[in-house]
Structures are given as structure tokens and as C-alpha cells.
């Protein structure tokens, strides 16, 4: 049985929980108020999905603006990107759209996109409706699920879904076929909140309508 190396990078605003998701996935641990990442950190984890072994090489990037220019270095060589937002902070969801646009324009063409709405255990503080995010993900053909690194909801499932959606290693042409394939169902884990949907139909560039919101959002999130 062969092992497949999968390079994944996590992108998203500062403080949405990228490192917590990675920590939950790699070490099955959770820490309150984890310190912000500096630059980017690298971890690996091997998992078994449908009798295939996948070795995830995970680049957990820092969300702070000063590191933003370094992001291309990490997503350029990646076969999948997980864009994380915080369901209790609408601004962080708007930033997702900025990342998607950037990846569609400058990222590798065959990159598997996944959107994760983290902190879904904080239902009381929710600012982003699951439905909105799900529709957006469907529109751009990305994997979507709401996760909670704290209660360990959908974290492993997220990576499993990515593994299943990866285009075959050798055949480049079968990409579209793979992407348009059947929906992936993520298993609900411990909570009934974390409903997920799989990759939508073929990826398109119709995220354009949302592009304008990115600018204004970035302007407001840092009042000077």
C-alpha cells in the first residue's frame, strides 16, 4: 500500500483558530488562548482513509497582516488549502472570500479548497449563519464544514474529506471528473450542530460578486 504525501496549508484571519484545528488534528489536544503563530509552523500527521494512507504535511500560517505577503510561498505548492473563519466574527468570514479570490487567481489550478467555520461550539455568540457559508462554499466548489477544535467536532472529518477529494496523483485530466463527483458526507461527531456538505459541482470563478466586499471589510477591520 502506498503512502501519499499531501501538502495542506491553513489560511485565514488572525485568531480564528487555525493552530487549534491543527493541534486537535495532529495531537488531539486543545489549549485555551493559544499564542499567535509566528511566521508559519509545520507539522505532519498520517491517517488512513478508505484503506489509503495519507501523510498530511500541514503548513499552519500566521494570520497577522505582516505575514500576509508570505502566504503565496505556502499555498503555491499545496494540494489543498483550508480557509478558516470564526463563526462568531463576521469580519473573519468576509476575509475568507478574499482568500478564495487570491487562491483562484494565484494558487495552483488543481488545489482542493476547504472552508471551515471554527468555534461552532459557541452557538450563543454566532454571527455567521451556517447556511450562508454553506451556499458560498457550494458556489465556489469548496468543501465546507463547521468545526470546533475545542470539542473536537469535524476536525478529523475535514481532513478525511480533503483526502477523498484529492485528484489522482498521475492523471491530470481527470481533475474535473473528480471535483464534480458525489457529495462527501462528513460524519457528525458528538454534536448535531456540525452539519457538513461535500464539494459542490465544478469549481467556477463566480466568486466575483463577492469580491467588492473584501476591500471594504479590510478597511473597517483596522480603524486607524
Amino acid at each position: 500500500m502506498s503512502m501519499r504525501d499531501v501538502k495542506v496549508c491553513l489560511l485565514g484571519e488572525s485568531g480564528v483558530g487555525k493552530s487549534s484545528i491543527v493541534m486537535r488534528f495532529v495531537a488531539d489536544k486543545f489549549k485555551q488562548a493559544l499564542e499567535s503563530t509566528i511566521g508559519a509552523s509545520f507539522m505532519t500527521k498520517t491517517i488512513l482513509v478508505d484503506e489509503n494512507t495519507y501523510k498530511f504535511q500541514i503548513w499552519d500560517t500566521a494570520g497577522q497582516e505582516k505575514y500576509r505577503a508570505l502566504a503565496p510561498m505556502y499555498y503555491r505548492g499545496s494540494s489543498a488549502a483550508i480557509i478558516v473563519y470564526d463563526v462568531t466574527r463576521e469580519a473573519s468570514f468576509l476575509a475568507v472570500k478574499g482568500w478564495v479570490n487570491e487562491l483562484q487567481r494565484h494558487g495552483p489550478s488543481r488545489i482542493v479548497l476547504a472552508i471551515a467555520g471554527n468555534k461552532c461550539d459557541l452557538e450563543d455568540l454566532r454571527e455567521v449563519r451556517e447556511k450562508d457559508a454553506q451556499e458560498y462554499a457550494k458556489e465556489i466548489g469548496a468543501i465546507f464544514c463547521e468545526t470546533s477544535a475545542m470539542t473536537s467536532v469535524n476536525v478529523a472529518e475535514l481532513f478525511q474529506a480533503i483526502a477523498r477529494l484529492l485528484p489522482p496523483e498521475d492523471a491530470t485530466d481527470s481533475l474535473d471528473q473528480q471535483r464534480g463527483g458525489s457529495n462527501i458526507k462528513l460524519r457528525n461527531n458528538r454534536s448535531n450542530r456540525g452539519r457538513c456538505c461535500g464539494g459542490g459541482p465544478a469549481a467556477g470563478d463566480d466568486g466575483g460578486g463577492l469580491q467588492a466586499s473584501r476591500r471594504s471589510q479590510r478597511g473597517t477591520s483596522y480603524p486607524s
Binding site: 511566521g39 508559519a40 509545520f42 505582516k66 503565496p72 510561498m73 486607524s224
Partner: protein
């Protein structure tokens, strides 16, 4: 060296006639920790502090990184690499341009208003500036940040550090949230620009027991306010460290370009997340004499173990484009390997130590982060591979390269280095040394010597024993540190530098001695006479000489 001897003797001789018979100075060849091949870049920061101020710019190794990158591109002989670098540089530049566009929010008008408000406030503050005079004010813990900066607690902080932009925009404050200090910073900017109007520079203000020190560099104003024992010169050094920390995050080129394009730019955005480095650096300055002495403390280690460590790095990290490789354990240097012809400046090393010290996030995983070392090259970033080598996260390996794609190669190097160091038990040796807590002053077996700092100037390294009684409470340690600041300031006084100073204080006797080879600051009990003190430091120098292999890195290792 013979001159040292004589000069050092003189001031003592004048007041003590039978001194010559009693006291023999150490043989001139005894300079513990001396080394002919430079380990560090040893330009003394205090000496070029004034020079730097005149120029306003750090010029040491400008362009080193660019030339190293170019060399690398030439070597690999593929245009691809160069393009990739160029790409990244471009993307960084364009990203910056983007962010600048979005930041023009406040107009000149509001700026003027700020200054005006600030000036009005000044008259108010005059009456409040002596906190002791208003005992009626009670310290009610308040939730609001605004209340905090107006509170007595804020005013009574021992030291304040502020960073503001040329246009008076707040960037950083040590205590209290900087955006609640707009008026105070407006006043500072008004003072600075008022003096600048006369083509002059505001250096410092003394008001009561507070000293205000100002430093202008690259469109930024750094202000230090202290009621401790730091002199103006020492405060300037601290502000220089703060400036270096800013450069370390942004690079000098970016900083200058940004403000050239937009005078009103809000620098807090690109610096967001860096506050903890500023805070931590300032905390380090209050407890770590290395920053005051611009020198580095090495972890005491048998020279054979240290050799193993550095040879392991040389063998297993012999990678192109790797400029510096070092291991740091609890703010102390274990080993340093450098590229031929390139030196690490102690000030840069302090920034690296601060990076490690301020962040827990390196303990979780291998990290890869850009860092600018202003003394090495203020115009570009080095890429730092950072990873702890042991489970307890004590020994931290840093590999600094100019190759932005080198992560995986360096990660392999780390695995090999760790495997080797484990096999030779070197990591255990490092752990043991950390556990033993350096050494106590009793080990030098010199009666009445309470504490000392010894800096070998040629290697820019220093050593000092751990703090024992009576310096075992934070207050006492603070006081001791104040004494060192006093002593350091007196011997390095700009107007009258001293070779030797014997000072009897209320609770202790101090002896400061500076020669070409070393600086020694010793603290004795209060009843120690001059003769006894001189005898003691001679004995101490012999002791350090005996131990120098363990306390200092004496040979410079290169790839």
C-alpha cells in the same frame, strides 16, 4: 596592555599611599575570556550610539542579504530561482502598497487638533505631575482603558516607553493602550517639532525625579520616561533596542518607504502582533545585564561538550545559504556557527533571544519565519528555521538562511543534529547545566563579594553568578540592577570616562574597572576597604581565567 595597568592604578594611588605594597595588579596577560578570532561583531554600541544618532541610519552590513541571494542565484545558474525571489519581493511590495492605500483615514486637520488638545492638557498635567502630592487619589481598579491611563497607577509606573510616528500617531506604549494616549503623544510630538523648528534636536528633559529621553529615527519618535537609575545614555540604548525591534519586524527599507509615501500611515497595522515582542524586550532589559553591556551570556558548559555541539552543527547543517546556526537555552548561548566573513552582532542576538523568549508558539512545532537583523542587514529579511531539540523545550535550534525555500532542507538538518546530540548525550549535558543554575558567587570563594558582571570586550560575552542573598527578592534585584546602571554610567560617562571607580554606598561598596580587554563591575558588602576590594577583584579575575573555557565561547566556528 602595560598602559592599562598604570592607568588603572592611578586613581587609587592618589588617595592611598601604602596601596602599592599591598596590591599587585594581575599580570597583564590575564584577560579572561579573551579570544583572537572574533566570535561576534564587537562594535561597542555605546561608542557608536552618538554616531548612529548623527547619521540616523544603521549602515553596518547594508545589502548583505541581497548580495547573498544574488550569489545563490548565480550559483544555481537558473533564472528560475531569481524569478521566484523577485516574485516574492514584488508580491511583498504590492501587498504593502495595497495596505497603505487603505490607511488614509485621518486628515491633517485632526492631527492639528490633537496637538492643540495635547497642549491644553499640558497645563493641566503640570499640576498633577508629582503623584506623591495627591494622596487623596485612591486606586480604584477600573475596567476602562481610558481610566487607566489617567490613573495614579499609570503615572507611578517606574518606566514608560512610547513610540509615535512623525505626525504624532501613537504606535506603542509600554503601559496602557496607545490609542488612549493620543493627547500625551501629541504633546510629545509638539515638543519634538518645536525644537526641530530651530534646526535642533530635543535630547532629554529632566523634571523632578523623572527623565524624559527622546530619540528620532526614520520618521519615528521614541520616548523613554524613567524615574529609575538609568542615565540618558542608557535610556538611549534601550530606545535603540526598541528601534531595532521595529526594524526586525518591518526592515529599514520598508519603514522608510512607507513613511515616504504616506506621512500619516498607521504603523500599528503592520506591527500588529509584535506588541508582545516590545513588552518582552523591555522586561528583559530590566533583568538581563547583557542588553546593557551589549554582550552575550553563554551557558556554562564543558568546552568538550560545546565542541561536540558546534562540530555537530558544522557537519550536519553544512547547507548552502545558511548564514548562522545557533542553539539557545534559557536566554543563554550554547553554540554559534557562522558563515565565513559574516558576524552576528550581540544586539541582533538579543533580538533573536527575545523572539524565542517572547513566544510559546515555537514549542508546538517547527517554525519558519522571516526576521530582519538590523546590525547584520537592515534592508532585508533572513529566514529563520526555529525548533526546540528536546521534549522539555529548553534547547532551541535556530538556522538562519537567505534561501526562502530552504525549510525542508533545514528540517532534515535538524533531525540529524538532534540524533547526533542525543547520541553524544549533549542535550542531557545542556539540561544539567541549566538545572545547576549557572554558579553561585560562593564558588569563586571571595569573601564579601556579593555579585559581579564581567564582560570580555574582545568577544562581547559576559558572565555573572546567579543572584543570591541579599538579592533574592525582586525589589532587591531591582536595586542591584540600579547599582549596575549607576556604576556603568559613571565609568562610561561621556564627559569624563573613568578607568576605575571605587564607590562606598549605604548598603554596599561598588568597584568598576574598565580596561581595553574587559569591563568588571563588582558589588561588595558595605565595609569592604579599597585594598580588600582590589585584592578581591584580582582574585576574581584569576578565578574567571581558570573557568574561562566553561564560561565563554573562545573559538569561533565557521561552516
Amino acid at each position: 596592555m602595560a598602559t592599562d595597568h598604570r592607568e588603572a592604578e592611578q586613581p587609587v594611588n592618589t588617595s592611598d599611599s601604602d596601596f602599592q605594597e599591598d596590591v599587585e595588579f594581575v599580570e597583564t596577560n590575564c584577560v579572561p575570556g579573551k579570544c583572537n578570532s572574533a566570535v561576534f561583531d564587537t562594535t561597542d554600541e555605546l561608542d557608536d550610539l552618538t554616531l548612529n544618532l548623527a547619521n540616523g541610519v544603521i549602515q553596518n552590513h547594508r545589502g548583505t542579504i541581497t548580495s547573498l541571494i544574488r550569489k545563490r542565484a548565480k550559483r544555481s545558474n537558473t533564472l528560475k530561482d531569481e524569478e521566484a525571489d523577485q516574485d516574492l519581493a514584488n508580491s511583498i511590495a504590492s501587498e504593502e502598497a495595497n495596505s497603505i492605500e487603505q490607511s488614509e483615514l485621518s486628515s491633517e486637520l485632526s492631527e492639528d487638533e490633537n496637538v492643540k488638545n495635547g497642549l491644553e492638557d499640558l497645563s493641566l498635567q503640570d499640576t498633577e505631575s508629582v503623584p506623591e502630592e495627591s494622596p487623596s487619589v485612591t486606586l480604584i481598579p477600573s475596567s476602562s482603558e481610558t481610566d487607566y491611563v489617567n490613573s495614579l497607577e499609570w503615572k507611578q509606573q517606574k518606566k514608560h516607553i512610547f513610540i509615535l510616528s512623525e505626525s504624532g500617531k501613537p504606535i506603542y506604549s509600554r503601559h496602557g493602550s496607545e490609542d488612549k494616549l493620543v493627547t500625551v503623544m501629541g504633546v510629545m510630538q509638539a515638543l519634538v517639532s518645536f525644537v526641530q523648528d530651530d534646526k535642533d534636536n530635543l535630547r532629554s528633559i529632566v523634571a523632578g525625579d523623572h527623565t524624559f529621553v527622546f530619540m528620532n529615527r526614520d520618521h519615528l519618535t521614541f520616548v523613554g520616561v524613567t524615574r529609575g537609575r538609568e542615565s540618558t545614555q542608557q535610556m538611549l540604548l534601550q530606545l535603540t533596542y526598541m528601534y531595532n525591534q521595529v526594524i526586525s519586524v518591518l526592515t529599514h527599507s520598508t519603514l522608510v518607504r512607507t513613511f515616504k509615501q504616506h506621512r500619516n500611515f498607521d504603523l500599528r497595522r503592520p506591527l500588529s502582533g509584535a506588541e508582545k515582542f516590545f513588552d518582552n524586550l523591555l522586561n528583559l532589559m530590566d533583568v538581563e545585564p547583557g542588553l546593557l553591556l551589549t554582550s552575550v551570556r553563554c551557558l556554562p558548559l564543558d568546552s568538550s561538550v560545546r565542541d561536540i555541539v558546534s562540530q555537530t552543527i558544522v557537519q550536519h547543517a553544512k547547507v548552502k545559504d545558511l548564514v548562522f546556526a545557533l542553539i539557545i537555552a534559557q536566554n543563554q548561548l550554547v553554540a554559534l556557527v557562522r558563515m565565513k566573513r559574516y558576524y552576528l552582532h550581540p544586539m541582533d542576538l538579543h533580538l533573536i533571544i527575545n523572539l524565542i523568549n517572547a513566544s510559546e508558539s515555537f514549542k508546538a512545532a517547527e517554525s519558519w519565519t522571516p526576521i530582519c537583523l538590523p546590525k547584520f542587514d537592515a534592508t532585508g529579511f533572513l529566514q529563520a528555521y526555529v525548533s526546540y531539540l528536546d521534549e522539555e523545550c529548553q534547547s532551541c535550534l535556530l538556522l538562519l538562511s537567505v534561501d526562502i525555500e530552504a525549510f525542508y532542507t533545514l528540517s532534515e538538518c535538524r533531525a540529524k543534529i538532534k540524533e547526533r546530540l542525543d547520541r553524544y548525550n549533549a542535550l542531557t549535558a545542556i539540561g544539567n547545566s541549566l538545572q545547576r543554575h549557572s554558579y553561585s558567587v560562593q564558588q569563586c570563594s571571595i569573601g564579601d563579594l556579593r555579585h559581579f558582571l564581567y564582560k570580555a570586550r574582545s568577544t562581547a560575552q559576559y558572565t555573572s553568578p546567579e543572584l543570591g542573598p541579599p538579592y533574592n527578592t525582586p525589589e532587591q534585584q531591582d536595586r542591584l540592577f540600579g547599582l549596575y546602571h549607576f556604576l556603568h554610567d559613571k565609568v562610561h560617562s561621556v564627559s569624563r570616562p573613568l578607568k576605575l571607580l571605587y564607590h562606598v554606598g549605604k548598603y554596599e561598596t561598588l568597584l568598576g574597572w574598565v580596561t581595553q580587554g574587559f569591563e568588571l563591575y563588582a558589588v561588595f558588602g558595605p565595609l569592604v576597604t579599597k585594598n580588600v576590594a582590589i585584592h578581591a577583584v584580582n582574585k576574581l579575575l584569576r578565578w574567571i581565567k581558570r573557568e574561562e573555557d566553561r564560561l565563554f565561547i573562545l573559538s569561533s566556528v565557521t561552516f
